[in-house]
Amino acid sequence: MSYPILSTVIFLPLAGALVIFLIKRSNESLIKWTALVLSLLTFAVSLPLFTGFDKTTADMQFRETYQWVPSWGINYALGVDGISVLFVLLSTLLTVLCVTVSWNSIKDRTKEFFAALLLIEGSMVGVFCSLDLFLFYIFWEAMLIPMYLLIGVWGGPNRVYAAIKFFLYTLVGSLLMLIGIIVLYFNTGRSFDVLQMMTTNYPYHLQLLLFWAFFAAFAVKVPMFPVHTWLPDAHTEAPTAGSVILAGILIKMGAYGFLRFSMPILPEASREMAPLMMVLSVIGIIYGGLICLGQTDIKRLIAYSSVSHMGFVTLGIFALNIQGVQGGILQMINHGIVTGALFLSIGIIYDRTHTRQIADYGGVATVLPVYAAFFMVFTLSSIGLPGTNGFVGEFLILLGGFTASNVLGVFAATGIIIGAAYMLWLYQRVFFLDVNPKVRSYKDMNLREVLTLLPLLLLVLWIGIYPNTFLSFMDASVQHLVQRVNTAGQPQMAQQIIEVIR
């Protein structure tokens, strides 16, 4: 506890990227080992966040504050609470797995690839830890550049198109958010301090405008219907590690943004807009699921399933009750683990077959039985089978959703049925049926690949069987948040009522 943990977790990977830049291009094994050691080290450094976290308080912990640009009141302020701490850990864990899964599949420009991966890790963690809106924006945008290169250089055939589309979509939203941030700054007594904003009450019409400005950035990232169209392209074209980061962490930032900024800073507007957000979420759930049924490309199918699953997350969040928000956060972690694992699995088989078309598979369970077992668990978790983590998250969300609105709850529940349909149908077409001659000669997973998937498998079961380990992290913070959203602006209303009565 004597060292600034959060800064270390942010800057260790960034320094690692610099080290990798200095290594000679031809020395590939050194590059890979440096990346692995550094990502493992970062993960190890982030573990005190798990063990040393005080679960009884909703306050920010592990705080660091330094002056940065005094004339603008900009600080370098970091800190985590129960909402963000798990995302930091998820980021550091998934980066390690991204390094191991890319070990042999990235054959050219290895150096730049691993450097970009570490750059992304540092800025992702920065996004989850920032307690200063300016700093947050810097990390939020800085991450785009290495991500753009990751998709645009090592991606599939249509990579340049997908990368530019991803960047442009995100930038439009981000710039509108930047305007929103600056307006907030002027209305908070010239400060970018998030904690101060969380206790300031802004006029309602201003909240409403700011809500939409922030919505532009966060909804694109989530992605919510109807601004989700960049996601299938980016996920499909990205290399395996890129898809894992995108699905595992990057799209969580949107939902995290709603939780960290929109809801506590603009509580009245969030409350007012919640029904609309929930409707959009449910449209996303059903629409994403239906599109999955028609996909012929495995990666694209999983990408669209993200639209559906993230619909559950935003539904839970905007249910604005404790079960819903807790379920939403847990489901974000779950989705990071499960979709990350599914993309890793697809990467593992893609390294062998170099095809993503479902029609090119069949009978894989006969040829790669261990692989099929792993995939089965992740599939079931994605469907939400009891005993896996997906069940806990979706259950809490639906509980929260039903409390908020019966009708929407019913519609969301049908999304689970569609989810079961497309995932099981996918599993059937890929792993059962007759053995496709194209896959007959492939070997099962090796130790490196098993070790890549094993931690995620354990997490799936851990969260599924004993979710309290993770839910207990967020109890206090979520309670605080929900209370803030539901009570802000009430005294004023009470006063008005009293006046009317008089």
Binding site: I138, I145, G152, L171, L175, I179
Partner: protein, 483 residues
């Protein structure tokens, strides 16, 4: 004029004298190295003299000049740009068999003209500075005499600049006829600017046309891409930075002193120009394949962003303009620097396709270029982001929602063509015989280029990551414009 006046004016006297001395010097020795070193030395000396002159500010030196913190900041920026352009030119010219000495005379004169504009406080110095700048540029643009495009560009600039100067003169005459003074400060003092009469608005309109040509804002932008394309890369860098920056400094002084924003017609006029520049500049750049033309259109859009800050008015806006211009200078000089240093004798390295895959064989050069492009696009950690942040802050502070929305739209369009260049830089080179990856065929940066661009890149990142020092300087200089 007394000795204090002389000291205050020294930063302008030195380059003026230096250009004459250099002209005499090249009659004795045509050594390229001597000319370069002399130019650099005199510009550096003038830069240092700014600190001496800073002791007695603010000081009116004759009605023509005002040496205050505001003008000193911009003159300093112009001198630094002059030094960078001179270094860029040293290799560019060194490899070409053309008359070299005179180039530096013209460069010194152009820098002098720009500095006169930054310190101008009178229509006479405004016009004199503008003409010193323009006349030097006519020749500099057409310096590659055996190149058709260079000649075309020179002639185009000559005709259009001369026409715009006459518009400007006539506008000044009308304003004078209405107000009875050509001195900015006199105009500002006794509230001499009356309501917007027909004559005055005609005068202002004509001045806008003249200045608009120089700033290359829409709809006066048509010459820009051709001139940038035809001019030698270092000269194009000079036009994009010093020439525009100086006029911008003068324009802002004129506007704040006269408080012209209070007239709705003027305000909406500028707003219209800003919006049109942001949109059209960015849109026209989308389909270009020539880097110099892309940068030309991009500079049109950037002037539009800057005008948004002018619209906002107030202290924040002035700091915003100062920061944006500093960032824009560093970025544009860097981007043109890459082109200049990669250019060989057969022509400038301006074809986008020639850069394909450069990142893999020349990671450092490509990295510098990408940093410049990202700064132009306003991505965080670069100077361009802080500049854009400042402009947006100024705009949001003044509730300019429509220009800000256009700024967002323009930046997004802009990002597309910057990313296109990045995509080419990181693209895959068509593999040669036997799968061997062919290296980037262009030339290496060389020692001077390497050092210069490294310095510019670090300046860019420094301004982007730790902007506090420059903000302090700006608050002590540019922000104190209005007495």
């Amino acid at each position: 004029m007394n000795s204090a006046d002389f000291i205050a004016l020294l930063p302008l006297i030195v380059p003026a004298l230096a250009s004459v001395v250099l002209l005499l010097l090249i009659t004795f020795s045509r050594s390229h190295a001597v000319s370069v070193l002399f130019t650099l030395g005199s510009l550096l000396l003038s830069f240092l003299l700014l600190f001496v002159a800073g002791g007695g500010t603010p000081r009116r030196v004759t009605p023509l000049f005002i040496m205050d913190a505001y003008s000193l900041f911009f003159i300093g920026l112009l001198f630094i740009a002059g030094i960078v352009v001179a270094v860029m030119s040293s290799r560019y010219l060194g490899e070409r068999s053309m008359e070299r000495g005179e180039y530096y005379v013209l460069l010194l004169l152009a820098t002098l003209g720009a500095s006169v504009l930054a310190a101008g406080s009178h229509f006479a110095s405004f016009f004199a500075g503008l003409e010193i700048l323009s006349v030097s540029l006519y020749t500099l643009i057409a310096y590659r005499r055996n190149d058709d495009r260079g000649n075309e560009a020179g002639l185009k600039y000559l005709i259009l600049a001369a026409a715009s100067s006459s518009f400007l003169l006539f506008g000044m005459a009308l304003v004078y006829a209405q107000t009875g003074s050509m001195d900015f400060f006199q105009l500002a003092e006794g509230g001499r600017v009356p309501d917007l009469t027909v004559v005055l608005s005609a005068g202002l309109l004509l001045i806008t046309v003249g200045v608009g040509f120089k700033l290359a804002v829409v709809p006066f932008h048509l010459w820009t891409p051709d001139v940038y394309e035809g001019a030698p890369a270092p000269v194009a860098a000079f036009i994009a930075t010093s020439s525009k920056g100086a006029i911008f400094a003068l324009l802002m002084r004129y506007f704040s002193l006269m408080d012209l924003q209070r007239f709705p017609a003027v305000w909406y006029g500028i707003a219209g120009i800003a919006v049109a520049s942001m949109l059209i500049g960015n849109l026209l750049a989308l389909r270009q394949n020539n880097l110099k033309r892309i940068l030309a259109y991009s500079s049109i859009a950037h002037m539009g962003y800057l005008l948004v800050a002018v619209l906002a008015g107030g202290t924040v806006a002035k700091t915003a303009v100062g920061y944006y211009l500093a960032a824009y200078f560093a970025t544009m000089l860097g981007a043109f620097g890459v082109i200049a240093f990669l250019s060989g004798e057969e022509g400038d390295a301006e074809n986008l396709e020639a850069y394909r895959g450069m990142a893999w064989s020349r990671p450092w050069t490509a990295g510098v270029f990408v940093a410049m492009l990202l700064s132009l696009a306003g991505i965080p950690l670069t100077a361009g982001f802080i500049g854009k942040f400042y402009v947006v802050a100024a705009g949001a502070g003044a509730a300019l929602w429509i220009p800000l929305i256009v700024l967002v739209a323009g930046s997004t369009i802009g990002l597309y063509y910057y990313l296109r260049i990045v995509a080419v830089l990181y693209g895959r080179v068509p593999e040669g015989e036997g799968g061997a990856v062919t290296g980037f065929p262009g030339r290496v940066l060389g020692m001077t280029g390497g050092i210069l661009l490294t310095v510019l890149t670090f300046a860019l990142l420094w301004l982007g990551v730790y902007p506090a020092p420059l903000i302090r300087i700006l608050q002590a200089t540019v922000a104190r414009l209005v007495p």
